[in-house]
């Protein structure tokens, strides 16, 4: 009985070959993920490349922030308040992006700010991804009453306004980086659950899963070995979009004063602080806002690209 897994293993690599129209996107995604063609296809997708490059640059910036930041992002200097950035009149190379209302070097703050955004983005996605995938896989695999209950949970979650709930929780519990990550992680799992649920439902009825079940494989085994690899592609794509979403939400929360607290250099918070100088020094909001825009743009471009590369039949 050494061949127990063979039918399942063999077909799982190429389940979409017979009927590309009805086959789940995830299965092809996996085939493509493993495909030797993947790098070639990725290299031809220019938007994906642009997104990846920007993201890698920002990641590097976050990792070696202490090495490249010219100043301590927290050290204030009342003598050097509101120095304009280099491209404006009065700008100096001492402070290429100028200084804020408390005389802190803006470039250093922007560099350190990338750490907060990336931290929040990553941990939120890990947290929400775990919750959403678990719920989605359970609902999709077991169906019936389990599905009914989980569907109800998803619907309830969708009905709660994310930004208000997040604001309220932070207001009650108190704000810190951890709280923001936890709140967003507990709120942003809906898309994972919805997509995973339908993906698993599709995969569940594929022949190779049926055959694994017929051969008496245990449920956890089937989920981990046969289903998860096939929905990996969709998972990666949603993860990128939710990461972008989390970064935008953190920025909004911090902007509204109920996210990351001063003096941490969160980009959203920097925009909020810059609001006081809106009339005469609008660059104070332009720079951190643009940083958020660039990071989210990079992640979205990468996500769009991954979707095109991994699941070409889903492209619209």
């Amino acid at each position: 009985m050494t061949t127990v897994n063979v039918p399942g293993r063999e077909t799982s690599g190429q389940p979409a070959a017979t009927d590309p129209a009805s086959a789940p996107s995830g299965s092809t995604a996996r085939a493509r993920w493993r495909d030797r063609d993947f790098p070639r296809r990725a290299l031809k997708h220019s938007a994906f490349l642009v997104g990846c490059s920007i993201l890698v640059l920002i990641l590097l910036m976050a990792l070696i922030a202490p090495l490249i930041a010219p100043y301590d992002p927290y050290s204030q200097s009342m003598a050097n308040r509101l120095v304009p950035p280099i491209w404006m009149d009065g700008g100096t190379w001492d402070h290429p992006l100028g200084t804020d209302g408390l005389g802190r070097d803006y470039l250093s703050r922007v560099i350190y700010g990338s750490r907060i955004s990336l931290l929040i983005g990553t941990f939120t996605v890990v947290c929400s991804g775990l919750i959403g995938t678990t719920l989605g896989v359970l609902a999709g695999y077991f169906g019936g009453r389990v599905d009914l209950v989980i569907n109800f949970i998803i619907m309830t979650r969708l009905t709660l306004p994310v930004i208000m709930v997040a604001l309220a929780v932070v207001a009650i519990v108190g704000s810190s980086l951890t709280v923001v990550i936890l709140v967003l992680g507990l709120l942003l799992w809906d898309r994972f659950a919805v997509v995973m649920r339908s993906a698993v439902m599709q995969v569940r009825n594929q022949e190779y899963v049926q055959s694994a079940r017929a051969l008496g494989c245990s449920t956890p085994y089937i989920i981990v070995r046969e289903i998860m690899p096939n929905i990996f592609g969709s998972l990666v794509v949603i993860a990128t979009f939710e990461m972008a979403n989390a970064i935008l939400l953190e920025a909004a929360l911090s902007f509204l004063g109920l996210g990351v607290q001063p003096p941490l250099p969160s980009w959203g918070l920097m925009v909020a602080e810059g609001r006081n100088y809106l009339l005469f020094d609008p660059w104070l909001i332009m720079i951190p806002g643009f940083a958020i825009f660039l990071l989210v743009l990079a992640i979205n471009l990468m996500g769009d690209g991954l979707r095109d590369i991994l699941t070409p039949e889903n492209r619209n």
Partner: protein, 304 residues
């Protein structure tokens, strides 16, 4: 159809009930509301008295049922901060929010529908690329930042429009653009995808074979079918705009429900927050129901 509808209604009701329970729990778990109201110098006796006065000493189930009973009658209690009932407070602010949401919806539709359709009609041309870049930019831009940029450029520098407040219709233009643009990308993408799919169908070829003009083929035969999923998404996006209004109303100082929510959350004005959350939930669920009904109405296959 009626069975389906009543089933959906029952589900919606259950979801609303659950949401009310969650918000109730969430907000009453913040124990120090009373001490916050009473002030720092209040004695334990005074705090206990205040708790009794506010009815906070009873068991949570009793309080919840009481709150629910009142809420069903439209009585959400009194604001802890304003000398007004919550219902009055919200009713006074609601018109501003509705005006903002309505105008944002108009901005969103007038951007996403024509651009999405044009992009589908002329794929891989400059129109298509323009539409795509507008969508990609819109998805990446924090809406509060975009709002501030609009304010800096059109209100502070050019002086064309007022920067903040909600006194006149002019006050709503910039916020509506900011909020509408924020909701545009998904709708535009779906319009484009739907149109491309429909334009490739056999019945569009039939319509052309009948000798109809391009405009008639596009607007009567293609749009009608491509619009079905867009309607559902628009309703959901309208719901999302209600959430987005918290940020945009705060940025532009519009005296609407979103701004009220933010003010009340920062002041822990629990009755107000509770009422707004449940109302937003009801609005959202109603919109989803409406989109279902619209869908059924637009798609003859579901109608029967």
């Amino acid at each position: 159809m009626i069975g389906y509808l009543s089933q959906r209604l029952a589900l919606a009701f259950l979801v609303c009930l659950t949401v009310s329970l969650i918000t109730f729990f969430l907000l009453t778990s913040s124990g120090d509301v009373v001490s916050a109201i009473a002030g720092e110098e209040a004695t334990p006796e005074q705090i206990a008295a205040l708790r009794r006065e506010l009815g906070l000493d009873a068991h949570w189930t009793v309080r919840y049922l009481e709150w629910l009973g009142n809420a069903l009658r439209g009585d959400f209690g009194n604001s802890l901060f304003f000398r007004e009932t919550v219902a009055d407070l919200i009713m006074h602010r609601l018109p501003n929010t509705l005006q903002l949401a309505g105008m944002s919806l108009a901005v969103m539709l007038s951007l996403s529908l024509p651009l999405g359709m044009l992009a589908a009609f002329r794929p891989n041309t400059w129109v298509d690329r323009l539409a795509l870049s507008i969508a990609v930019m819109g998805q990446a831009m924090p809406n509060f930042w975009f709002g501030l940029i609009l304010m800096v450029v059109f209100a502070l520098n050019l002086g064309w429009l007022p920067p903040s407040g909600s006194g006149t219709n002019w006050h709503f233009i910039l916020p509506a653009i900011a909020l509408g643009y924020y909701a545009t990308p998904p709708v535009m993408r779906l319009t484009r995808a739907g149109m491309i799919e429909v334009l490739g169908t056999d019945y569009i070829r039939t319509a052309r074979a009948k000798g109809l003009s391009t405009t008639r083929v596009l607007f009567k035969h293609a749009l009608r079918n491509a619009i079905i999923p867009v309607v559902a998404l628009t309703a959901v996006q309208f719901g999302n705009m209600l959430g987005g209004s918290v940020v945009i109303e705060t940025v532009f100082g519009i005296q609407g429900v979103g701004y009220l929510a933010w003010e009340s959350i920062t002041r822990l004005d629990v009755p107000v927050v509770q009422a707004i959350m449940i109302l937003v939930a009801i609005a959202y669920i109603t919109l989803v129901l409406v989109s279902d009904v619209l869908n059924a109405w637009l798609d003859p296959k579901i109608r029967k």
